[in-house]
Point group: C2
Chain length 274, copies 2
């Protein structure tokens, strides 16, 4: 693994058992990367590398990569997907956005709909929000009794371990933005008529619970960063830093997976096409 990749992982990955404090992480940090324009160009190159590696993953057809994106409103989940995965395109990459559960989904356990959306072998699946909402909004807004939420951390770890043991590599990214940055981004949605449809008055209510959400994120990061499904805390106030960090980690991970073109059981000379 290249030095830069190691530096990014060392700084952003939450090691299993490590106790992090979210307030110690600076959402505006850009120290991992150099010049903005050069970094953007490097990210575009990484996106192409990811495309090539995804081709091999597809050809191999045996394993999957699951990318989980979490973060408060306006933290840039959609923008990340565009920047890191548009070069790969919709062939072999699927995005699943988790909103409030439907009535049918509520009639099952909270992991039911998540499991159903797990990526097929050979593909990259992206979760825009995920089962972690059940220990975030679920905890902050007390959508389930405390004891029930408490059990979920271990349940999630076990669920993700099962996925990993069955061929799905998992990467989890928390897009960490500051309260000031969110204010700016929400204000933009109010100021720009083309962005009005993105503004949801309910986001303001969630903003009032900012500190509780930060606490819930911190618990989640400390309890659910595992060897088989590590969390990364991404400084996301600067979009170019966010994109560069995630592209670096995704590319390094696919490279470690090292998918192989499958052996074929025939020789080209076996066939004559008439």
């Amino acid at each position: 693994m290249a030095d830069q990749e190691q530096a990014v992982l060392k700084k952003l990955r939450v090691e299993p058992g490590e106790k992090i404090r979210l307030r110690d992480r600076n959402p505006r940090d850009k120290s991992l990367f150099g010049d903005e324009q050069e970094t953007k160009a490097a990210t575009a190159a990484l996106a192409k590398d990811i495309d090539t590696l995804q081709d091999r993953l597809y050809a191999e057809g045996a394993r999957a990569l699951l990318v989980i994106l979490q973060g408060t409103d306006t933290s840039g989940k959609d923008g990340t997907i565009r920047s890191v995965f548009n070069a790969t395109g919709p062939l072999g990459v699927s995005v699943h956005a988790f909103g409030p559960p439907s009535r049918l989904e509520l009639e099952h356990d909270y992991l039911w709909r998540v499991h159903a959306a797990a990526p097929r072998r050979g593909t990259i699946g992206i979760f825009n929000r995920s089962h972690y909402e059940d220990v975030l909004i679920g905890k902050v807004h007390k959508l389930a009794p405390e004891k029930v939420v408490e059990q979920r951390y271990d349940q999630i770890n076990a669920f993700e371990k099962m996925l990993a043991e069955n061929g799905t590599t998992i990467l989890k990214f928390m897009l960490h933005i500051s309260k000031d940055e969110q204010k700016e981004r929400l204000q933009e949605r109010l100021d720009d008529p083309a962005k009005h449809w993105k503004f949801n008055p309910g986001d303001l209510e969630d903003r009032e619970h900012w500190d509780e959400y930060q606490d819930a994120y911190e618990i989640m990061l400390n309890r659910c960063s595992t060897k088989w499904a590590p969390w990364h805390i991404i400084p996301a106030d600067r979009k170019w830093v966010r994109n560069a960090a995630i592209a670096t980690i995704v590319k390094a991970t696919l490279e470690e997976m090292d998918p192989q073109y499958p052996e074929v059981s025939w020789k080209p000379g076996d066939f004559k096409i008439t």
Copy 2:
């Protein structure tokens, strides 16, 4: 609609009730487009227009576009998706490839798995193969009794009509390649070790049924091109012509759909972000 768009539609769309003969359609035809390099540049621009229109479709959140790709092996279904939809990316575009039905799928009617994969409102869904396999391979290889296959054309028309009436615009593209072109493309897969994994000895068996398949395609085109879900016969021997034709039709269709940013029920002044 621009003149060029009208010319493409007039030449490639199968009008309801029209009786086409597939052998009258030249898979190498390039008369709709001019210079190759200019056409490629125009296609890239169309792909960006499609991205912009898809954003509006997503914002509107009320309707979907379903793109159905059919064609023999090597006809370029994957290549089409890359060329026309990579600018849009996986956010808002989902691809569903239909292979041989699973055991669970066989325990249901043939449209069951297709309906389950229909695109969500606000998105573009792409079917790489589809329920039309049930009147193609199903007919040629007699996977179902003749009488059963015979009923399917009307069933499919009714199914697609229901989707259309419920907000899904449908475009169907038959990627029409010549037998010679297929020979070249299969040979490439044998000659290039990096393409070996794409070569499926079973494709050769299907190639022996070339004429029967062409007949089955012709029946499908004549019986299932409807006002609400038209077929287009795409000259696909030349990849750049294929991509240009499909990008033109997709873009014109999205423009006709004319998705709108939704009205919001508030005024920017209603909120103060603290």
